[in-house]
C-alpha cells in the first residue's frame, strides 16, 4: 500500500475541488439544457376552421404571417391551391375575422421589380414560409 504522502497531491486536488464546489458556490453553475424538458408530445395545431380563427401576431414587422386555422381538408397539390380561396382577395368573415390578403410582393418578380397580373409561381408552396403554431411555448424562462 502506498504511503499517504504519495497521495498528497491527489488529496490536495480533491480538497481544492471540494473548496470550489462548496465555498465557490456563487461561481458554479448548475448546467442544464433549458430546452431538454424530459417531456414528449405531438405536434398539435389550431382546430378552428378558416373564418373562425383570429390573426396570430407576426414575429416582427414584415415576417410572414402564421396560419391560425386548421389545415384539415386544405391539402395543397400540384393542381389545387386551396389557400387562394380566401387569401387571394382577403375575405372578411365578420369584423374580427379577416383573411390576410396576399400582398403585392407576391405578384412581383423581386429580382427585377416587375409586377405581374398573376401571383409569382415561385410562391406556389405556401407552407415553405407560412406555418401553423402549436399552443406550446418554448420552455425557456
Amino acid at each position: 500500500m502506498k504511503s499517504w504522502y504519495v497521495m498528497l497531491p491527489l488529496l490536495l486536488v480533491i480538497a481544492s475541488l471540494g473548496f470550489v464546489a462548496c465555498t465557490g458556490g456563487g461561481d458554479d453553475q448548475e448546467y442544464t439544457h433549458s430546452i431538454l424538458t424530459g417531456e414528449l408530445g405531438i405536434n398539435e395545431y389550431s382546430t378552428l376552421l378558416p373564418g373562425q380563427s383570429t390573426l396570430l401576431p407576426r414575429a416582427y414587422p414584415g415576417a410572414p404571417p402564421f396560419i391560425p386555422h386548421s389545415l384539415a381538408g386544405l391539402e395543397i397539390s400540384k393542381d389545387i391551391l386551396p389557400c387562394l380561396t380566401c387569401h387571394l382577395a382577403g375575405f372578411s368573415y365578420g369584423p374580427d375575422h379577416t383573411a390576410t390578403r396576399i400582398p403585392e410582393s407576391h405578384y412581383t418578380d423581386l429580382p427585377t421589380g416587375e409586377k405581374s397580373e398573376s401571383i409569382q409561381l415561385i410562391r406556389y408552396n405556401c407552407l415553405l414560409c407560412h406555418v401553423p403554431q402549436s399552443a406550446e411555448n418554448l420552455p425557456l424562462e
Partner: protein, 805 residues
C-alpha cells in the same frame, strides 16, 4: 372551394374568389370584402440592411438582415440573390432570433462535477486566459506523452471558410496531426467520394440555373420540399410554368415532395442500387445511349465488391479497380432484369421502364437530385457513381438542364469542409495528405519545413469517436457541431466521453448534449456576430460582414483557433503583414482581426486561394465577394463558371475539345462509369427487430435544434419529434396518435409518441423519427455502419422493434 394556381390571372383569381365568396355568403359567414395587410415592413424605420447568407441549409440563400444598433429587428429575402430571388423559407425568416435566446453561453466554463455527471453537472466560470491556458496544457501533455495521434478536432460544414482553413493549418501544419474531421463526414462524404471516383474533382459540374432548364426532375431519396425549400420553390415554379415538366419522387416514405410530383415511387430501403442498375440495363439493352459521348468521354471500370459495413473498429478499404469494355459492363448489368429489380425494390417493370424512358429520351433534359438518402448509405459512394452512370450513358451532363446534381446539407459543407479539406485525408483544393506532391504544395504555401504534414490520414469522424472509446485520444475539441447528439450508436460514444481519460472541449453558442459532457465549454460568437464566408452546393462562394457585437465574452471559432495556436507556440501560423492587410474601414471589426491588429479574414483568404489557382478551383480576390451575391468557382479573370467540363462555359476546356472531364487527366479526361452491384444493408428487419428505422429532418428545424428550437415561433411551429408509422402497422399494433411507444434496437432504446397520418407517411414496416429533439435521442437506436469508401454513416436503415407503453 379551391383554385388552380397556374396560368390564372389576378382577374381570374378574383372570379374564383368571388364565386367562393358567394358560396360562403350562403352560409352567412361573409359580411364584407376587406383589403388589408400589405407587405407589412413599412413600419420599420432607421434600419440598416446588409446581406448575409442564411445560417442553415446548403441551398445558400441570401438574406437581408435589418439591424438597429446592436439588435437584429427583421430579416427578408435578398431580391438581388440569384439563389432565392427575394424569398426565404420559414427557418430563414426567423434567423433574427437564433442568437438571442435566454440561455446563450457568454463566459468560458470549466467543469467542476466529475465526468460521470451529465444532466445537472456543475461548471464554474473562468476567464478566457484561464480556459486557454488549461486547454494548452492538456494539448501539450497529450502531445508529449502520446504524440500527435492523441489529439483530435471535430469541425463543421457550418464553419466559415477561414475557420476551416485556420483549423486545417493549425492541426495539419502546426500540430502535425491529421486528426481533423467534421460533421460533413455524416453529410457529404459519399458525395465527395462519388465525385472523386467518377470525375477526379469534387462538386457539381452544373448549377442552380439547371432548375429553369430541365424538363424532368428525378428525386433520389431527397425530400427537397422540407430540406431545400427555396430550391424546391424553383423546381415547383418550373413544374407550374413549363408545359410537360415532370417531377418523380423516388423515396422510401411518402413526404411533402410527393405533393408536387407527377409520380411517387416507393422503394424498399437500400434497393436504389438495384433501381439505378435496372434503369441502366434498360438503356444499354435498348440502345438508348449516347454512343458518341460514350466513346469519346467515358471509360468503364469494375471495383471491389462485398466491401463490408465499417462496423469493426479500425476497418480499412482498398479499391481494386479494373478497366473493362462497354460489353463487359453490359454483361455485368444484365443481372438487373425488370423482374430482379422488382423482387429487390418492389418497383414494378412499367414504372422502371418509365424512369428509363425519361433518362433515355434524347429530347428530355434531366436533373437528378439527391442528398441524405443517397449519401447516408452503406453504399453511398456507389449510389453516387450509379446516378452519374445514367447521365454519362446518355450524355446528359455539363449543359443547361442536363445535370446530375448532388445537393448539399450544410451551408458550407462545400465551401469549408470539402474545398478547404477539413477531413482527415484531405488538403485544400481536392489534394490529399497521402500524396507527397500535395503535401509539398501545402508545406510550401504554409512556409513549413518539408515533411511537416503527416502522410497517413487521421481518424475519420466515426473512427475518432471509437478511438476515444479505445482510450487513444486524450484531447478532443468539437466546434460548431453537436457530436454527442448526432452520432449513430450514440450510447457507446457518450459512455466513452464520461468514462475515458479524454479532455473534451466544446465550442458552442448554447448548452446542448455535447457541451454537457465537456470539460471546458467555450462561448462562441455566431453568424453575423463575426465576418464570414460560406460556399453552397452550386460552387457559389459568398461572404458577409459582421453586423452586431457578440454577447458577453463569446468569441468566434476563428479567434479561438488562433488563440489556442498562440498558446501552443504556433502563433506564427497566423501572423500576417499588417501593412498588406490593414483593418477594414467603415465596418465592424471581427474579434479575430481586432486581436491580431490586421485583417485576419482577408489575409487567410488570400493565402488560401493560392491552393486552387490555375488548378480548376480559382477563387476571386477577397473584396469581390463582399461586393457581389457570391461567385461560382472556378472564377477566372473575374468571371464565374456555371457549367464545368463544357467548352462553351468552362475556361479550363480548350477550344475544340467539347467536353473534357479534366479532373481525370491520367486517363485523358474521361469520366468513369463504374459497375457497382446491389448489396444488402448492414442490418435488416428480422423476427426480433421487425421494423426499419429511418431518421431525418423537418422543415422547421436545423439539425439537432440547438438554434432553431430556441426560436419561439419555430419551436411552436414544430415542438416535438414524433414517430411516424404506416396506418396498417399502427392498426396492427393498436396504436393511434399520441400513444407512447418504445423503439428498441440492438444498441439502445428511446421513448416517443406516435403520430399517424402526419406529414411523413412511411412505407409498411418502417418507422420514421426526426433527430432534432433532445428529448427523443433517436441516435441511441441508430447503427454506426458506414460506407467503407466514404466513411459516411447510414442514418436511414437499421432494425428496431416497437412496444406500446
Amino acid at each position: 372551394m379551391s383554385a388552380s394556381f397556374s396560368k390564372v390571372s389576378r382577374r381570374d383569381f378574383l372570379k374564383i374568389a368571388s364565386a367562393s365568396a358567394i358560396a360562403l355568403a350562403g352560409h352567412g359567414l361573409i359580411s364584407q370584402f376587406t383589403y388589408g395587410d400589405a407587405d407589412h415592413d413599412d413600419e420599420l424605420e432607421g434600419v440598416l440592411w446588409e446581406k448575409a447568407p442564411c445560417r442553415f441549409c446548403g441551398t445558400g440563400c441570401s438574406a437581408l438582415v435589418g439591424v438597429i444598433g446592436n439588435d437584429i429587428v427583421a430579416v427578408k429575402g435578398d431580391p438581388e440573390s440569384p439563389v432565392n430571388r427575394g424569398l426565404l423559407c420559414i427557418k430563414g425568416y426567423h434567423l433574427l432570433k437564433i442568437h438571442s435566446a435566454a440561455d446563450r453561453l457568454k463566459k468560458p466554463l470549466i467543469r467542476v462535477s466529475p465526468k460521470s455527471v451529465t444532466s445537472g453537472a456543475k461548471f464554474r466560470e473562468a476567464t478566457w486566459d484561464e480556459a486557454l491556458e488549461l486547454i494548452s496544457e492538456r494539448f501539450q501533455s497529450a502531445l508529449q506523452e502520446h504524440g500527435p495521434e492523441s489529439i483530435a478536432m471535430f469541425g463543421s460544414g457550418q464553419w466559415t471558410i477561414w475557420e476551416g482553413y485556420a483549423a486545417a493549418k493549425l492541426l495539419k501544419g502546426g500540430l502535425r496531426s491529421n486528426n481533423l474531421d467534421c460533421n460533413a463526414r455524416h453529410c457529404m462524404a459519399s458525395a465527395v467520394a462519388g465525385f472523386m471516383t467518377t470525375f477526379g474533382l469534387d462538386e457539381p459540374m452544373g448549377c442552380y440555373d439547371d432548375f429553369e432548364n430541365a424538363d424532368a426532375f428525378i428525386l433520389w431519396g431527397a425530400n427537397m420540399a422540407e430540406m431545400h425549400p427555396m430550391l424546391w420553390a424553383r423546381v415547383s415554379q418550373r413544374k407550374q410554368s413549363a408545359a410537360g415538366a415532370t417531377i418523380i419522387n423516388l423515396t422510401v416514405l411518402s413526404n411533402r415532395s410527393s405533393v408536387m410530383a407527377d409520380r411517387e415511387i416507393i422503394f424498399k430501403p437500400q434497393s436504389d442500387l438495384a433501381i439505378a442498375n435496372g434503369i441502366a440495363n434498360i438503356l444499354v439493352q435498348s440502345g438508348r445511349v449516347n454512343s458518341d459521348f460514350i466513346s469519346n468521354h467515358v471509360v468503364f471500370q469494375t471495383g471491389k465488391e462485398n466491401i463490408g459495413y465499417g462496423l469493426e473498429d479500425n476497418s480499412t478499404f482498398q479499391e481494386e479497380a479494373s478497366v473493362v469494355s462497354f460489353d463487359d459492363f453490359k454483361s455485368h448489368l444484365a443481372t438487373y432484369t425488370l423482374e430482379y429489380v422488382q423482387q429487390i425494390s418492389g418497383v414494378t417493370p412499367d414504372i422502371l421502364s418509365e424512369l428509363a424512358d425519361i433518362y433515355g429520351n434524347p429530347n428530355t433534359k434531366v436533373m437528378s437530385l439527391w442528398t441524405m438518402g443517397v449519401n447516408q448509405h452503406t453504399r453511398g459512394t456507389w449510389m453516387n457513381n450509379l446516378i452519374y452512370n445514367l447521365h454519362l450513358l446518355t450524355g446528359k451532363i455539363s449543359e443547361p438542364g442536363n445535370s446530375p446534381f448532388s445537393l448539399t446539407g450544410q451551408p458550407s459543407a462545400c465551401g469549408t469542409t470539402r474545398e478547404v479539406g477539413t477531413f482527415s485525408h484531405r488538403l485544400p483544393a481536392d489534394m490529399v495528405v497521402t500524396n507527397a506532391e500535395h503535401r509539398a504544395i501545402a508545406e510550401g504555401i504554409w512556409s513549413l519545413p518539408a515533411g511537416t504534414i503527416p502522410a497517413v490520414p487521421g481518424y475519420h469522424a466515426v473512427e475518432m469517436m471509437r478511438a476515444i472509446d479505445r482510450g487513444e485520444i486524450k484531447v478532443f475539441w468539437s466546434l460548431c457541431a453537436n457530436p454527442y447528439q448526432d452520432y449513430a450508436n450514440l450510447n457507446r460514444y457518450r459512455k466513452a466521453a464520461q468514462e475515458k481519460d479524454v479532455f473534451i472541449i466544446v465550442s458552442d453558442v448554447y448548452p446542448n448534449l455535447s457541451s454537457e459532457v465537456a470539460d471546458v465549454i467555450l462561448p462562441t460568437a455566431m453568424w453575423v456576430e463575426k465576418e464570414g464566408s460560406y460556399g453552397n452546393a452550386e460552387r457559389r462562394t459568398h461572404f458577409w460582414k459582421k453586423m452586431i457585437q457578440p454577447p458577453g465574452e463569446s468569441r468566434s471559432d476563428l479567434w479561438q483557433i488562433v488563440e489556442v495556436g498562440k498558446k501552443l507556440g504556433l502563433g506564427h501560423l497566423f501572423q500576417y503583414d499588417p501593412q498588406a492587410y490593414p483593418l477594414p474601414q467603415e465596418q465592424l471589426i471581427s474579434d479575430a482581426s481586432e486581436t491580431a491588429g490586421f485583417y485576419m479574414e482577408k489575409a487567410l483568404w488570400e493565402e488560401y486561394r493560392l491552393f486552387g489557382k490555375d488548378k480548376g478551383h480559382d477563387l476571386a480576390p477577397f473584396e469581390l465577394y463582399h461586393q457581389t451575391r457570391g461567385l461560382r468557382w472556378p472564377v477566372v479573370d473575374g468571371q464565374e463558371t456555371r457549367w464545368r467540363y463544357n467548352e462553351k462555359y468552362d475556361p479550363y476546356v480548350k477550344s475544340g475539345e467539347g467536353i473534357n472531364f479534366y479532373g481525370n487527366e491520367a486517363n485523358g479526361g474521361k469520366a468513369i462509369i463504374w459497375f457497382r452491384p446491389y448489396e444488402p444493408p448492414a442490418e435488416s428487419p428480422d423476427t426480433d427487430y421487425p421494423f426499419w428505422l429511418c431518421t431525418g429532418r423537418v422543415l422547421e428545424h436545423w439539425h439537432s435544434g440547438t438554434m432553431t428550437r430556441r426560436v419561439p415561433s419555430l419551436y411552436k411551429a414544430y415542438p416535438h419529434a414524433t414517430a411516424a408509422l404506416h396506418p396498417d402497422d399502427a392498426a396492427e399494433l393498436a396504436l393511434s396518435t399520441g400513444d407512447r411507444i418504445r423503439i428498441t434496437s440492438r444498441r439502445g432504446s428511446v421513448e416517443v409518441l406516435v403520430e399517424i397520418g402526419a406529414r411523413v407517411k412511411p412505407q409498411k414496416g418502417m418507422v420514421f423519427v426526426p433527430w432534432f429533439d433532445e428529448d427523443v435521442m433517436i441516435n441511441e437506436a441508430t447503427l454506426d455502419a458506414f460506407c467503407p469508401i466514404s466513411k459516411q454513416t447510414d442514418y436511414k436503415k437499421c432494425a428496431v422493434k416497437l412496444e406500446k407503453l
